[in-house]
């Protein structure tokens, strides 16, 4: 170590007049500054570990053991004592503010940060516990709530957020219409001024869970003279009223959570307009960012965590050669490609999460992750079907295992992933325009 440059790495003393950006410049951070940074980091880490310990203790004392490992969607399928335990667990979570832990405590959350929230879900996972509230709230906790927190009035927040955070109020979203899919801004459902209320007329489609929701957030046209995006507003209305009716949609995969929703002189309170009148487009853009972010997990729909590994399924159905390689060379290569894509996607989610640490805004990279997750989820179902051969094509009956039939559902349902939440092509438009800065096409004819 050179005594005249205490923080020099010792390879060779710094040369006066050297104009090159030398590696050792890093030591220009004083030792004091460095220690301070390091100290802050350490004390944060200690605090997180303490939080982890107290989380574990609380979960051990409050999560009913009867529910260990049971799926989140057990409502309706379980016996009465399980149902009672489930309700008890929901109530305890809601009281603790852990249904939506990062929301402010005054609105039913726990007012904690994302690292702490992550610890809660990690610790839940370790003991087979779960947070059913986001699912029970429909689009409430994941999408409407975060948008309300940003755009809502104090009155709106007080009125709506607690019901979401406790899982007692389920929300649906009325966005798409029969004539407004990828081109959402061409929607025609109208909301007319009717004194203290708006009067809604029109049809929404793909409203997930509309038949079992208590509230709906709807995108409606409030000024039909304005340009497409400029005359749109976002209103919230209760589903239990004469002017609202729903009809479930049957899909290629069978029954679905989706509905057509009809507004026939439905009413929304004026105080339930979210964001300014005719500025609903910016509200919904934000809402959809939250949606995309919640869709970036590359998990097949309906997938559970207890399934055998994908490569094990491949080996079981296809077999291996003398060297232990999958017997079908072509399938093997495509399985490799799939698993590599999948791992690369996972590493990217981790990287973006790490890079976004401490920042509140939704990363622009969210739109990249959706297409990547889509490709993986759809590819997995297609590849699984191929690996399973003629066992992969069953619709129902005892000739097929649950796993085989589940994959068919994943495969068919999975076709929706590249359509909803901004289609594959719309995502590419967003990336090329918003992220890469490429201009709009002005070519005519």
């Amino acid at each position: 170590m050179m005594s005249d440059s205490p923080s020099c790495s010792g390879a060779r003393p710094w040369r006066q007049g050297d104009d090159l950006p030398i590696i050792r410049v890093k030591y220009s951070l004083s030792t004091l500054q460095y220690n301070e940074m390091e100290g802050k980091r350490m004390s944060k880490q200690v605090a997180l570990e303490e939080f982890r310990a107290s989380t574990k203790t609380w979960l051990e004392g409050n999560f009913p053991k009867t529910l260990v490992g049971s799926a989140m969607g057990l409502e309706g399928e379980a016996d009465d004592s399980m149902k009672a335990d489930f309700e008890l667990w929901r109530q305890r979570l809601a009281d603790k503010g852990w249904g939506a832990p990062t929301w402010p405590a005054e609105f039913g959350g726990a007012g904690i940060g994302h690292p702490e929230a992550k610890i809660i879900s990690q610790e839940m996972g370790k003991m087979g516990a779960f947070n059913p509230i986001p699912l029970m709230a429909g689009m409430g906790v994941t999408m409407v709530g975060p948008t309300l927190l940003e755009y809502g009035t104090d009155e709106q927040k007080a009125k709506h957020l607690r019901g979401m955070a406790s899982g007692e109020t389920r929300w649906c979203l009325g966005l798409s219409e029969p004539g407004a899919g990828s081109d959402l801004a061409s929607l025609i459902t109208k909301a007319e001024d009717d004194g203290d209320t708006y009067k809604l007329n029109g049809q929404k489609t793909w409203t997930s869970g509309a038949d079992i929701s208590q509230w709906c957030g709807a995108l409606v046209r409030t000024d039909s003279n304005a340009k497409k995006r400029d005359g749109i507003s976002f209103v919230m209305l209760p589903m239990a009223q004469d002017g609202v009716s729903t009809k479930p949609i049957r899909l290629i995969s069978g029954a679905s959570p989706f509905c057509d929703t009809f507004f026939d002189n439905a009413q929304a309170e004026k105080s339930d307009l979210l964001g300014p009148l005719n500025e609903g487009w910016s509200v919904v853009k934000r809402l959809l960012q939250h949606e995309r972010q919640s869709q970036t997990q590359a998990r097949g729909p309906g997938g559970s965590t207890k399934k055998p590994s994908f490569q094990q399924i491949a080996k079981d159905y296809v077999g291996v050669d003398d060297s232990g390689a999958l017997a079908d060379g072509d399938l093997r290569v495509r399985l490799i490609d799939h698993l590599m894509d999948s791992e690369a996607h996972g590493l990217t989610v981790n990287r973006i999460t790490a890079e976004a640490r401490g920042k509140v805004e939704v990363s622009a990279a969210a739109s990249i992750l959706k297409n990547s997750a889509t490709k993986i989820a759809q590819g997995k179902a297609e590849l699984t079907m191929e690996l399973m051969g003629s066992q992969g094509v069953g619709w129902e009956g005892d000739n097929y295992t649950k796993e085989e039939l589940d994959n068919v559902q994943d495969w068919l349902w999975g076709k929706a992933i590249s359509i909803y939440g901004g289609s594959f092509e719309v995502q590419n438009n967003i990336i090329s325009k918003n992220i890469l800065g490429l201009p709009e096409n002005t070519q005519k004819g």
Partner: protein, 376 residues
């Protein structure tokens, strides 16, 4: 995996500004046109040494800064962006890794400071034919007196003409993974001869011949017959480092293409406004982001000494390999006719891309390896 630290970001910025200002791709063109035998310019190499780049992997007690693989990776990425030619990767990254992984204390003290100051240029001599296949190493090292006698050939040795010393993978017994030994052999030893091979990327490679080269026991790196474990760890480091350079080369090709999409006018508008090209760019951008995650994860895993190193290094080399392959083709395609001219730089990137692809295992090699590591 973590994001880059503040320190790593700072080093990247420094490297970026140096490479852009002092060693832009124009310098590479001048080097190529000069016909210089070393295939790099001495002042470029000296500047890297002076900046401390050659010591990034080397711990302080041997004269380096010991900043690790991810830090070196961010520099290699910047070097890859401007195609800066030098023995940095061969010697300070791969060579230094060989000594760090296999060397004893005496060897480390003797060699590492010289690698840092640049008086020794190390390189790995592993391939013996057109395919990267380290398990099939044939170059024979037989016991001879108190040492060994090496006989055989090595091909496609990076910076093989300017290296002062080779890390040679040789067979001392057995077959496959068993019986491989690593040696440190001076390029000036009796019986060593080399010839330059002229490749389309205009960089330095050699075929090296060992004709009964006698070396002492002290030149063994690691343990006799047990060299494969070290060799594989070393190759993984080389793959991770090359992945970083490849990412830089591809990222620059992407940036050049994106610029062109925004400026080239046809049919009365910039061509980037056409959806076919916008979507192609979006797809490439997605590939780039995914590749970057793999490259950084592999380097980070090496720094963390994680179990996943082999898997992540193969993932990284294969994924960034896919991206660079596609990106270098799109670089030409989207530039159209100008991309075909030697006057424009696109060809340099295409050629470099195809040279890096088979180095230390091509995409097929790493796909197969990845699958075997996952048990199928």
């Amino acid at each position: 995996m973590a994001a880059l630290t503040e320190e790593q970001s700072m080093i990247r910025d420094q490297a970026k500004s140096w490479v852009t200002e002092q060693s832009p791709v124009q310098k590479f063109r001048e080097m190529r046109d000069s016909g210089i035998e070393s295939k790099f310019t001495p002042d470029t190499w000296q500047a890297m040494i002076d900046m401390g780049w050659t010591g990034i992997l080397v711990p302080e007690q041997y004269g380096g800064s010991g900043l690790g693989y991810l830090t070196f990776g961010v520099i290699l990425e910047e070097v890859g962006r401007q195609l800066t030619a030098s023995p940095l990767f061969a010697s300070a990254f791969v060579g230094a890794s060989a000594v760090l992984l296999g060397g004893n204390e005496e060897q480390k003290q003797a060699i590492l400071p010289k690698v840092v100051e640049g008086s020794v240029i190390l390189t790995l001599a592993v391939d013996e034919g057109p395919r990267h296949s380290p398990k099939k190493t044939k170059l024979v090292a037989e016991r001879s007196g108190s040492g060994f006698k090496l006989t055989g050939n090595k091909t496609f040795v990076h910076e093989g003409m300017t290296a002062t010393d080779y890390v040679v993978a040789a067979r001392t017994s057995g077959e496959g993974e068993e019986g491989i030994t690593l040696f440190l052999v001076s390029a000036s030893a009796d019986g060593v001869s080399r010839e330059a091979v002229t490749t389309f990327d205009s960089r330095g490679y050699a075929n090296v011949h060992f004709d009964g080269v006698t070396v002492s026991e002290t030149t063994v790196l690691g343990t006799v017959d047990q060299g494969y474990r070290v060799l594989e760890a070393l190759l993984d480091r080389a793959r991770a480092g090359l992945g970083a350079e490849m990412l830089g080369t591809a990222a620059q090709a992407f940036d050049m293409t994106l610029d062109y999409l925004k400026t080239r006018v046809q049919f009365g508008q910039v061509i980037g406004s056409f959806q076919a090209l916008g979507h192609r760019a979006a797809g490439l951008f997605g590939q780039m982001e995914l590749s970057r995650s793999c490259v950084e994860a592999a380097l980070q895993a090496i720094d963390d000494d994680a179990d996943a190193v082999p898997k992540l290094c193969s993932l990284s080399k294969a994924k960034v390999g896919d991206f660079l392959h596609e990106m270098s083709n799109q670089l030409i395609q989207i530039h159209g006719g100008i991309g075909m001219t030697d006057e424009f730089d696109a060809g340099f990137y295409l050629k470099r891309a195809r040279l890096l692809e088979p180095s230390f295992g091509n995409r097929a090699f790493h796909r197969d390896r990845y699958a075997r590591l996952l048990g199928f």
